[in-house]
Amino acid sequence: MHMADALLSPAVGATFWAGTIAVSGYASKKLKEQIDDKLIPLMGVLGAFIFAAQMINFTIPGTGSSGHLGGGMILAIILGPYAAFLVMASVLTVQALFFADGGLLALGCNIWNLGFYPCFLVYPLIYKPLVGGGKNPGRILVVSLLSAVVALQLGAFSVVIATLLSGKSELPFGAFVLLMQPIHLAIGIVEGFVTAGVINYVRSTRSEILESSAATISLGPAVSLKKVLITFAVLAAITGGALSWFASTHPDGLEWSIERVTGKDELPGQEQGIAPLLKGIQEKTAFLPDYGFKQAGKASKKGEPPPAWPGIEGGTSASGIIGAVIVLGMIVLIGMGIRAVRRRQNEQ
């Protein structure tokens, strides 16, 4: 479920990063107000624990496929939302850096999806109110299952929204949702069982850990619904702003690339050729911010009015391909040259 850089547009990636940075700042501020020094090494080592635990696979009953732990819910239950969010953010950062899971631009998106939803929505609004005193293993199981499923559904839906807003994928909304949500329902159920299992195990063997950590960390009042709603309103405003900026720039992008392709700026013939095509695609992808680019791309690939498309052998597409091959060849040569020089230096 890790989002990938290549599927994101800069506006969407930056929006998620902005949200993630804002929440991280808020979480560190909250944590600093009530911090116990003891928590700092505990958070760090638990981050390493989640990382190591994620690398252990297990067989999912009945399917033969293997799954692994996500960890957001476990952390939220043990550390509370603020610390858990920071730990999750650090785990995902290390994953992005060492395993290249997703990539650095998508990291904001991934921290948001796997950290914000379990820690700041599901934990305070579902897990905490429903679990009660947290003494009953059956109740912990049911509530953990529900929490993990909701958290993963939110995360998966968020991936769908981010991909669609970025407009790099052709997948229509309905099909994408049908693809992502059921897969993550299954993952959520497994995650819920594991979360409940670990919490219950720790409770049955060393219950003082859960009690003492919950006591020393003193979560303060749970995140209020009002704050959550305000955060969402702000994010919606940011997203809206970013998208409208996109919408207002795309005609420029279109003109710019047509100009680039043809080498001149008057093109009455093309305007006619593109207009019906634009309309057709606009109907299909009406709410995507990217359709302007799509047209621009098509126009630049065509380089000539649409009616003539079967015959375009020469022109831009040919020089584009030749250029690509030559540039790639030059880069390979540069690389091999430097490597050869280095090797000779090392031998001496």
């Binding site: 624990f49 990382f51 690389g335």
Partner: protein
């Protein structure tokens, strides 16, 4: 990938970052900022761009060769994480079937072009991220983030995570080996045993955190992780940034690939 392979993979990346080539000696801040600029520039290309992306391979190739990072190592890493992007991207050729070009008699649909564009962007962004870590020590990256204004709680969290990552992975590796030796294929690899294993690992982790905390207290820990290393932006770092920005601007706004192609066509005409 088995657990051992994953473990050694992380270790190898970490070891690569402690070499001392000219790339490794650049200031971590310069490399972090350059990588982020690079990523944004690559991602900002429109959906159907293919040619314009090619020159950007110069950046990873230069880092790789100057930094003496093995080529196959990077390629393997990129391939290993590619499934999600391919899985989502492969729908483009199926859904976007309008023909946009005919090359050597073969009709090429718009979907294939956007798919290739996704794959190129994916390779560029992922290899840039890998090369950042392979040429910069992880503590270096953390201090750079701290200096660039990330909250200190978060960067010290990262440093702790990194410090104990290998310790806990070794602990997990011992647990996995013990399980696998008793498992005979699939017995004992189910969710019940898994939960117990994670539970035990968790308890050991909490105990370890406590010991770490007392050890830190006895060494004067006061809630912050100061660094003795003084980093200063040198002339080489400035030169690196300037080259990088020029490189990005030129390749982003001038159709280098097409110009080279046109020039070659003219040459042979």
């Amino acid at each position: 990938m088995t657990f051992d392979e994953k473990y050694f993979d992380v270790g190898r990346l970490d070891r690569l970052s402690y070499q001392s080539t000219c790339v490794h000696q650049l200031d971590p801040r310069a490399k972090v900022v350059a990588t982020v600029l690079f990523l944004f520039t690559v991602i900002s290309f429109p959906k159907y761009e293919v040619g314009g992306l090619i020159p950007f391979f110069l950046f990873p190739v230069l880092l790789m060769t100057m930094g003496e990072i093995p080529f196959l190592f990077v390629v393997k890493k990129v391939l290993f994480v590619s499934p999600f992007a391919i899985f989502i991207g492969i729908f483009n050729p199926l859904l976007d079937t309008g023909t946009v070009a005919v090359i050597a008699g073969m009709p090429i649909s718009a979907g294939w072009i956007s798919f290739v564009s996704i794959i190129l962007k994916f390779s560029l962004t992922i290899s840039a991220a890998i090369l950042l870590v392979a040429t910069t020590s992880f503590p270096g990256v953390c201090h750079a983030l701290r200096q660039l204004g990330f909250p200190s709680l978060f960067t010290s969290q990262l440093l702790f995570l990194y410090r104990y990552l290998f310790v806990l992975m070794e602990e997990a590796m011992r647990i996995i080996r013990a399980r696998d030796m008793r498992a005979f294929g699939t017995r004992g690899t189910g969710i019940k045993v898994f939960v117990r294993l994670i539970g035990i690992l968790f308890l050991r982790t909490v105990d370890r955190a406590e010991r770490v905390y007392y050890a830190m207290l006895s060494r004067g820990f006061q809630g912050d992780m100061p660094s003795l290393r003084k980093s200063r932006i040198a002339m080489t770092d400035m030169a690196f940034m300037a080259t990088m920005i020029t490189f990005l601007v030129v390749f982003r706004f001038f159709p280098v690939t097409e110009e080279v192609g046109r020039f070659t066509q003219e040459l042979f005409r």
